[in-house]
């Protein structure tokens, strides 16, 4: 299906462009917004694979809540542009070509190993009903454990980010 390939390439290019923009931008707010664009394009890729519930959850949770949290913190701390230090210059010089070479190698291995096995458009429909059934029957224990994890995270975040309390004055 040519349309499938065209859509995949369009959203893939948007993903990669957003990821590269995240690296290139000096100000963290621009990086945060490019990450939101990456997540949106990834949600479209999930839809191409038929995972509709995962795509919706990606937009609601990842792009709509986690990244909002990032944007909040950047706004609150008034983070400015980042400065170039010697450490980051060395990492740029050796690291970027290294990572590019490494990822090209991995991509070549993948393409030669998995070759022509194709995935149809909407190959595995993931309607919320079936996912809900799985979550509450086969994966009930991990589900409950992650809810406890989120509770711990909430408590931790509230404690860590709260202002340090003043010592109660004993003499009055």
């Amino acid at each position: 299906m040519q349309l499938h390939l065209v859509l995949f390439v369009i959203f893939g290019v948007v993903c990669v462009a957003g990821a590269v923009n995240l690296l290139v931008q000096r100000h963290p707010i621009n990086s945060a917004l490019s990450l939101v664009v990456v997540m949106g394009a990834l949600a479209a890729e999930y839809l191409l694979l038929g995972a509709e519930f995962v795509a919706a959850v990606q937009v609601i949770v990842y792009a709509g809540a986690i990244m909002v949290l990032f944007v909040f913190v950047i706004m609150l701390l008034n983070a400015g542009e980042e400065e170039r230090t010697t450490g980051s210059r060395i990492a740029l010089l050796f690291g970027v070509p290294g990572v590019v070479a490494g990822s090209l190698l991995i991509a070549w291995v993948l393409l030669s190993r998995f070759g022509a096995q194709a995935v149809a458009i909407g190959a595995l429909p993931g309607p919320p009903k079936v996912i809900g059934w799985l979550l509450f029957h086969d994966f009930l224990l991990p589900f409950e454990l992650t809810s406890i994890l989120v509770l711990i995270a909430i408590l931790g975040a509230v404690v860590l980010a709260s202002h340090p309390e003043a010592q109660p004055k004993k003499e009055r």
């Binding site: 690296l23 990086s31 986690i66």
Partner: protein, 100 residues
């Protein structure tokens, strides 16, 4: 029909960008965002394999990865705020009091 390897390659490229950002950038928040980018690349691989092998547990695992990423983002950002309050900077190179 898009070959499975294309999806995996896209996920791999996102992961590689995340690793690069984690190693190269000096702002704590940008480093944290590179971690989220890595997680997203991994999620794409999960969903692609789930579609290939008709196993819905791939999509369930993506759900759990997102929940863990949310919890980690909340606590991590709280730590970043605490670090900013004491060290007045968001540059990783300046948080070096324990260095010899």
């Amino acid at each position: 029909m898009v070959p499975l390897s294309y999806y995996l390659a896209l996920g791999g490229i996102l992961f590689a960008c995340g690793v690069t950002g984690f190693l190269v950038k000096r702002n704590i928040i940008t480093i944290f965002m590179s971690i989220e980018l890595m997680l997203n690349g991994v999620n794409l691989s999960f969903v692609a394999f789930a579609a290939q092998w008709h196993a819905l547990s791939g999509q369930i695992f993506v759900f759990f990865v997102m929940v863990v990423a949310a919890a980690e983002a909340a606590v991590g950002l709280a730590i970043i705020i605490a670090v900013y309050r004491t060290r007045e900077t968001l540059n990783v190179d300046r948080v070096n009091l324990l260095k010899l």
